[in-house]
């Protein structure tokens, strides 16, 4: 392994190479003071370099255990793991259907659509639904809600939470009439308590918060969903250096991926739409450009079809692209009313 591939700064790397330390082996038996003298850097910095180097050096021994290196998983293990995880329902059966049962953990899902289509409604619904107890087929987790637009309405969240609790007790009565002891213990106010809300006012804050989330979730292990509503807002204002924007967004997406994977939680990102000039006509597409469109695992686009709200799966590694109608009611996201009629007719 060469020094050039260590995660250290360019100037440190240059100093190391010009002092003759080109391989990790040459660093292995050095004391920090020796290195500090040779490179003419403070001892604390030398200690830092040696720490990084010795971490990487330990990887040099072949894994005796099983031939597969640590941190990797086989497809077989992952298949079983994936099947055992519950998904977060959207409360709309049709939408759940095309999503393969709901929003999946360990994945980053991007949802975009025109203003007023119900992005924020869906966000609040998910923040509530993630808390459905395990007994009711939910995850019993908590939610982190990152609000960049100031559109989170707490009264609306309470309304949706109340409807959700009501649904749960209905379900309870239907299913276990004889078991009176099993009551719905969760209260709408508890649901509000378990939504961690962050209000973000600039893109610097947004990046800082996402860097901090790792620590936050370590302290609150039961967070099962991170909702960002919306990722776009601050990045569409005052940004002249587009290359810098792409880089910042790319880095942010990788951090979110890492979070999703490490803590086994779902990340849901909301995005705005923009018009794009394509083959002579203007078409609506999601904002933030081509590079960003690679950053998420799944992509769902919400659109109007006549008077009906529709969701379309635009990108997914495992799901077919499909569309389903949904509606926003007083209770939250539900099946489209007209869809019910159609089923009855058939």
């Amino acid at each position: 392994m060469e020094v050039g591939r260590l995660p250290i700064s360019a100037s440190q790397r240059g100093k190391l190479i010009s002092a003759g330390y080109t391989t990790l082996a040459s660093l292995s038996s050095l004391s920090p003071s020796d290195l500090a003298r040779d490179l003419k850097i403070p001892e604390s910095e030398a200690l830092e370099i040696l720490k990084v180097a010795s971490h990487d050096c330990r990887l040099d021994q072949p894994d005796k255990s099983n031939g597969i290196f640590t941190g990797a998983q086989t497809a077989w293990e992952m298949l079983h793991e994936e099947q055992s995880f519950p998904r977060i329902t959207t409360s709309c059966a049709d939408l759940d259907n095309i999503l393969g049962g709901g929003i999946n953990c360990k994945e980053v899902t991007e949802i975009g659509g025109v203003p007023g289509i119900g992005k924020t409604q869906l966000g609040i619904q998910l923040a509530v639904n993630v808390q459905i107890p395990v007994d009711f087929g939910g995850l019993g987790g908590k939610a982190v809600y990152i609000d960049t637009e100031g559109s989170f309405m707490v009264e609306r969240a309470l309304q949706i939470a109340e409807a959700s609790v009501l649904d749960m007790s209905h379900y309870n009565e239907l299913l276990r009439k004889e078991l009176r002891t099993c009551q719905v213990e969760i209260q709408p106010t508890d649901i509000l308590k378990n939504i961690f809300y962050f209000r973000i006012c600039s893109y610097t804050e947004q990046i800082a918060l996402i860097n901090h989330l790792d620590k936050f979730i370590l302290e609150h292990k039961d967070v099962k969903i991170v909702i960002i509503d919306s990722v776009t807002f601050h990045f569409r204002q005052d940004f002249e250096d587009l290359a810098l924007r792409t880089r910042l967004l790319g880095g942010m997406a990788l951090k979110l991926m890492n979070l999703a994977n490490k803590y086994n939680l779902a990340v849901v990102i909301f995005n705005q739409v923009t018009t794009k000039h394509k083959e002579g006509s203007f078409q609506l597409s999601l904002a933030l450009g081509d590079s960003w469109s690679h950053c998420c695992t799944n992509r769902v686009i919400l659109y109007w079809n006549g008077d009906e709200r529709n969701a379309h799966i635009d990108k997914s590694p495992s799901l077919k692209s499909a569309s389903a109608p949904f509606s926003v009611t007083r209770k939250g996201i539900r099946n489209s009313a007209s869809n019910h009629k159609r089923i009855k007719l058939m």
């Binding site: 392994m1 050039g4 591939r5 260590l6 995660p7 700064s9 360019a10 790397r13 190479i17 010009s18 002092a19 003759g20 330390y21 080109t22 040459s26 990487d56 990887l59 040099d60 021994q61 072949p62 894994d63 031939g67 597969i68 290196f69 941190g71 990797a72 998983q73 086989t74 497809a75 077989w76 992952m78 298949l79 994936e82 360990k106 994945e107 980053v108 290359a243 880089r247 790319g250 880095g251 990788l254 951090k255 991926m257 890492n258 999703a260 994977n261 000039h277 394509k278 081509d290 590079s291 469109s293 690679h294 950053c295 998420c296 695992t297 992509r299 635009d314 990108k315 590694p317 495992s318």
Partner: protein, 318 residues
């Protein structure tokens, strides 16, 4: 650029006396040594009291340099290596296999370029399933976007094997699924570590019989984009280093490497591959995928190939 001092620990002949002699001629590093007139240096060494030892030292440094480069091969040996060790792995997608004359070549770096949701990941997953099922090879999948879908792999494997796995087939199915290894990487340094460990583990894998035949990085561009372009050239250096490492791995261990790259809007809105000119020269084979929304037919064309005319195109569906 390594100083001569660094060699002293290994080679006793390059003692402080030798270093002092070199220093008196302005030679402090191996690089200085190379650009110096060696005959002149030897002549000066004659005049010194310890001339024998100094001359031995000079020969020693030269022989150390000689061992630093790879041994040469002649054309026949290269051909032999190509015929016996560099097999062609079919991707399981007829259109692509026909286009590439059989599929992915071991020892080569193949790059898939295309806009979002054009089927890059699907081709990767299909190739992984096919190599594991038909070629009995191990597959290493480096995933940067949590887009590795075991469910989809299971579908492909079932489809390729051509029958549903009954009780007896379950063992085979499990073996195939176990031969695909996925590793999530979220920054380029993690990728370096993983690749490094992969190289170290190669000999032990050979003994067990399960050799890695295909390495997939999906997608390499999302690892490189965040480090590219910020002040200084370190990002670029890391990108080249990554490409070099992948190619070396492919050549020395006879592995087919498949990476994916995204597109950016180029001149007049025509999409072009990301990562710029520097990366352009790294992959052996470059394939452009494009998909049409609404129907399932995707088209693929060759942008760059070492032994085929570029510009050929084929259609396929997923």
């Amino acid at each position: 650029m390594a100083p001569l001092k660094a060699l002293e620990a290994e080679y006793r002949i390059l003692d402080p006396n030798f270093q002092a002699f070199c220093a008196s001629h302005g030679i402090f590093s191996v690089e200085d040594f190379l650009i110096h007139d060696l005959y002149e240096l030897a002549a000066f060494a004659e005049q010194q009291p310890t001339s024998e030892k100094l001359k031995q030292g000079i020969t020693q440094v030269l022989s150390i340099m000689d061992t630093q480069h790879q041994p040469w091969l002649n054309g026949m040996e290269l051909l032999d290596d190509a015929l016996h060790n560099k097999h062609v792995l079919s991707t399981g997608c007829e259109g692509i296999d026909l286009l590439l004359g059989g599929g992915l070549r071991e020892g080569q770096l193949t790059e898939l370029v295309g806009p979002s949701s054009c089927g890059k990941t699907q081709v990767c997953l299909l190739a992984a399933s096919n190599v594991a099922t038909k070629h009995m090879g191990n597959v290493v999948y480096l995933d940067t976007g949590n887009s590795f879908s075991p469910q989809r792999i299971a579908q492909f494997v079932g489809h390729i094997a051509g029958h549903a796995f009954d009780e007896a087939g379950k063992g085979i199915f499990q073996r195939i699924m176990n031969s695909i290894v996925c590793h999530s990487v979220f920054d380029i340094f993690t990728m370096f570590n993983v690749l490094h460990r992969l190289v170290i583990n190669f000999p032990s894998q050979l003994q067990k019989g399960g050799q890695v035949r295909l390495l997939i990085v999906d997608s390499i561009s999302s690892l490189i984009t965040p480090i590219l372009g910020n002040s200084g050239s370190q990002g670029r250096a890391l990108m080249i280093s990554a490409g070099y490492m992948l190619k070396k791995l492919a050549h020395e261990h006879n592995v087919a490497v498949l990476v994916t790259n995204h597109t950016v809007g180029g001149e007049r809105g025509i999409p072009k591959p990301a990562l710029g000119q520097t990366w352009k020269s790294i992959p052996h084979v470059r394939l452009l995928l494009s998909g049409d929304h609404g129907n399932n037919v995707r088209s693929i064309s060759v942008l760059r190939h070492p032994s085929m005319a570029s510009g050929k195109a084929a259609n396929f569906s997923i």
